[in-house]
């Protein structure tokens, strides 16, 4: 199985899931489950930090689209952290991920409104 990890923390009321390593067919199911569980019903949404993801292909895109859909069904949002220099940027762009999630270059710019809403 590819080495990939999910670490979940909370930042200003939003859970932040930091994904590291390579995402592919061998680990996508497990990662998906862990990400889904990281979002409680009360959270505004999920910040998915992809800064440390070394590889991502259509399998990972599938994960992101599904996650976005599941969150959307619950009126929650998905925000992706993708540095401009990240190698996965092109894949995300080609797949049109921007249509289902907000993409920010780093976590620091991930600003929230006073009440914790986006």
């Amino acid at each position: 199985m590819s080495a990939a990890q999910v670490q979940v923390s909370t930042d200003a009321g939003w859970p932040v899931a930091r994904l590291t390593g390579a995402v592919d067919l061998s680990n996508v199911e497990e990662l998906g489950l862990r990400l889904e569980r990281s979002v409680s019903n009360r959270a505004q949404g999920l910040v998915l930090d992809l800064s440390a993801v070394t590889y991502l292909d259509s399998t990972g895109l599938r994960l992101i689209f599904r996650l976005a859909r599941q969150l959307g069904d619950r009126q929650q949002r998905l925000r992706l952290v993708v540095p401009e220099t990240s190698r996965i940027t092109r894949v995300l762009t080609l797949a049109g991920v921007g249509s289902v999630a907000e993409i920010v270059p780093d976590l620091d710019q991930n600003t929230y409104e006073e009440d914790g809403t986006l």
């Binding site: 061998s26 599938r62 859909r69 401009e84 092109r90 762009t93 080609l94 921007g98 249509s99 999630a101």
Partner: protein, 592 residues
């Protein structure tokens, strides 16, 4: 044949025994003969003495008398004394009974003769007539005595001759028996040799059988074939110890790990018998289980040690476990009391030493240490067991130094097996080793070359090694990091499709063939399954990505599988201009 062997062993002893008895007989006969001769000589002396006595006596009785009567009497008396001495000497000799009887029979007459002679001598001065009157009696005794003594002497001669014959017979007997015993001994030796050969043969056969079982077991537990990995070549050898030594518990193993890395094992179970070979099997499997999830080598050895003690495998083993990244050439290694592997890189030859740790199964709660090493392209790593460097007649340091001097790096096109064989031949000097030897060599390739053919099981776990191999190959081919990533994604997409759509459950393969020519990369991914359309939502992006990232993509589905061929020219952007970050960042996520 057994009877001959036994007879051959016993008969010489019996014969030598009887020969010795016969020899005693010979000696006894010879002794008898010499004693008889001695007695005979004394008898003859006595005979001469009593001749002298008679002469002296006659002289005393001569009518004209003797000139000096006193000295003549003294002479006679001396003759009598000598006569008696000789008779006593005869008595002192141990003689055959028959002779003794004869000697004793004649003795009274001899005594009487001596007595008469003395009496006569005493009377010659006082009563010459009385003395003269004794003469006829003395003469008669003398005559009888002469005849009887002659008979005794005759008997003695006869007896001596008889005894001599006996001695000769006995002598011949001894000779025959000794010759017979020598012959029997010879036969016996042949028989015994044969017998020992048979017994030894049976024993050897039993040992050989056990050895054969151990060796078969041993060999059955060693990998049939080492995995073919892109970026690194592996070759291994196992040489059982010389006949007369026993098979040990040496083993090597190569364990493919989910990360695409491989676990390398070199181990040696303490002991040299069937048990050691069996323990080796258990340890090998235990180590495989401990390593399967791809844990760090120190943890793997720690688990193995715990398992070994918990399960009471009852064995101790030195084990070297290393995780090799075939693409990057990195080696993470932990060592439980095993000889350090040798790394040869250009002129640099060094043993990869690590902190000394006890063997597996020796101590509870050991903390092993992992150390990280880099295997440069074109280097050679040699893992081995003690049989390679230990020899009874030299310290192990010399063996290790010899290994260091002998080992030669293998060029990319050399057969690594030949390198192993040459190393074994050099280290063992052409003779069977005293202990068994396991040898595993690892040679990171300098370059992957312009053609790369990767066959892998159609399993998601294989994607990592595929990507990492491709990354290295593309980098060597001169691709930029972006090109590396994009081509890798395309190839992964095609492979993922094959894994997901081509096969049902069960073993199946995917082949990825990569070529680069004049800066143009061609990648062909093929499977041998039945294509089935993607199911579920969010599918179909893979093909789209491939088409976007590569210059062209052709997909051909057929009865005999699917073939995807893709091209990409290096040294520039894709045909499709990338839609870079500006279009990405700042986009507002749209809640679905």
């Amino acid at each position: 044949m057994v009877a001959i062997g036994l007879a051959g062993a016993v008969l010489p002893l019996v014969l030598v025994g009887t020969a010795l008895d016969a020899f005693d007989e010979v000696s006894a006969a010879h002794a008898d003969v010499s004693r008889i001769h001695a007695a005979q000589a004394d008898f003859q002396e006595a005979d001469m003495a009593h001749d002298a006595m008679r002469a002296d006596a006659l002289a005393l009785l001569l009518p004209e008398g003797v000139e000096n009567h006193g000295s003549a009497v003294a002479a006679l008396q001396q003759d009598v004394e000598e006569y008696r001495d000789f008779l006593r000497q005869v008595d002192a000799v141990t003689l055959p009974d028959a002779i003794i009887a004869q000697v004793r029979a004649v003795r009274p007459l001899q005594e009487q003769y001596a007595t008469d002679a003395l009496r006569l001598s005493r009377l010659t001065s006082s009563d010459p007539a009385g003395a003269r009157a004794l003469l006829p009696e003395l003469t008669a005794t003398f005559t009888t005595l002469t005849v009887e003594q002659a008979e005794v002497t005759e008997s003695m001669s006869a007896e001596a001759d008889r005894r001599r014959l006996t001695a000769n017979d006995a002598e011949r007997n001894v000779k025959w028996r000794l010759a017979g015993s020598a012959l029997a001994a010879l036969l016996g030796m042949l028989g015994l040799t044969w017998l020992l050969h048979r017994l030894g043969g049976a024993l050897a056969a039993t040992l050989a059988r056990e050895r054969g079982v151990a060796e078969t077991l041993q060999r059955s537990l060693l990998p049939d074939q080492l995995p073919e990995l892109a970026g690194v070549r592996l070759a291994a050898r196992y040489v059982p110890g010389a006949v007369g030594t026993e098979v040990g518990g040496d083993w090597y193993d190569v364990i493919p790990l989910p990360s695409g890395e491989v676990g390398l094992v070199m181990g040696d179970v303490v002991g040299h018998d069937l048990d050691a070979a069996a323990s080796m099997g258990q340890l090998r499997n235990a180590l495989r289980a401990c390593a399967a999830e791809g844990a760090a080598p120190d943890l793997v050895l720690q688990r193995l040690n715990r398992l070994c003690l918990q399960q009471d495998l009852g064995s101790m083993a030195t084990v070297l476990y290393a995780v090799l990244d075939p693409v990057l050439g990195s080696l993470c290694m932990a060592n439980a009391g095993h000889y350090p592997p040798l790394l040869v890189s250009g002129p640099d030859r060094r043993f990869l030493e690590s902190a000394p740790c006890p063997p597996i199964g020796a101590v509870r709660e050991v903390h092993y240490t992992s150390t990280l090493h880099q295997l440069p392209p074109g280097s050679l790593l040699v893992l081995y067991t003690d049989g390679l460097v230990e020899r009874r007649d030299q310290p192990v340091e010399e063996g290790m130094q010899r290994l260091q001097e002998l080992v030669q790096v293998a060029a990319d096109d050399d057969r690594l097996g030949d390198v192993c064989d040459a190393l074994l031949a050099g280290m063992l000097s052409g003779r069977a080793p005293e202990d068994d030897v396991a040898l595993l060599t690892v040679a990171p390739q300098t370059l992957l070359g312009s053609h790369l053919d990767i066959m892998l099981p159609a399993e998601a776990e294989q994607l990592t090694v595929l990507r990492r191999t491709l990354e290295r190959w593309l980098t060597e081919a001169g691709a930029t990091p972006e090109e590396v990533y994009e081509i890798t994604v395309s190839c992964s997409e095609a492979t993922t499709n094959a894994i997901e759509h081509a096969y049902g459950p069960g073993r199946a393969d995917v082949e990825v063939v990569c070529d680069v020519e004049d800066g143009r990369v061609t990648i062909v991914v093929r499977d041998w399954g039945q294509w089935r359309e993607a199911r579920g939502r969010d599918r179909g992006r893979g093909v789209h990505l491939m088409q976007e990232l590569m210059d062209d993509v052709q997909v051909a589905h057929g009865d005999r599988g699917t073939r995807v061929e893709m091209h990409r020219r290096l040294g520039g952007a894709t045909r499709h201009e990338p839609q870079r970050a500006p279009g990405l960042h700042g986009l507002q996520g749209t809640p679905a």
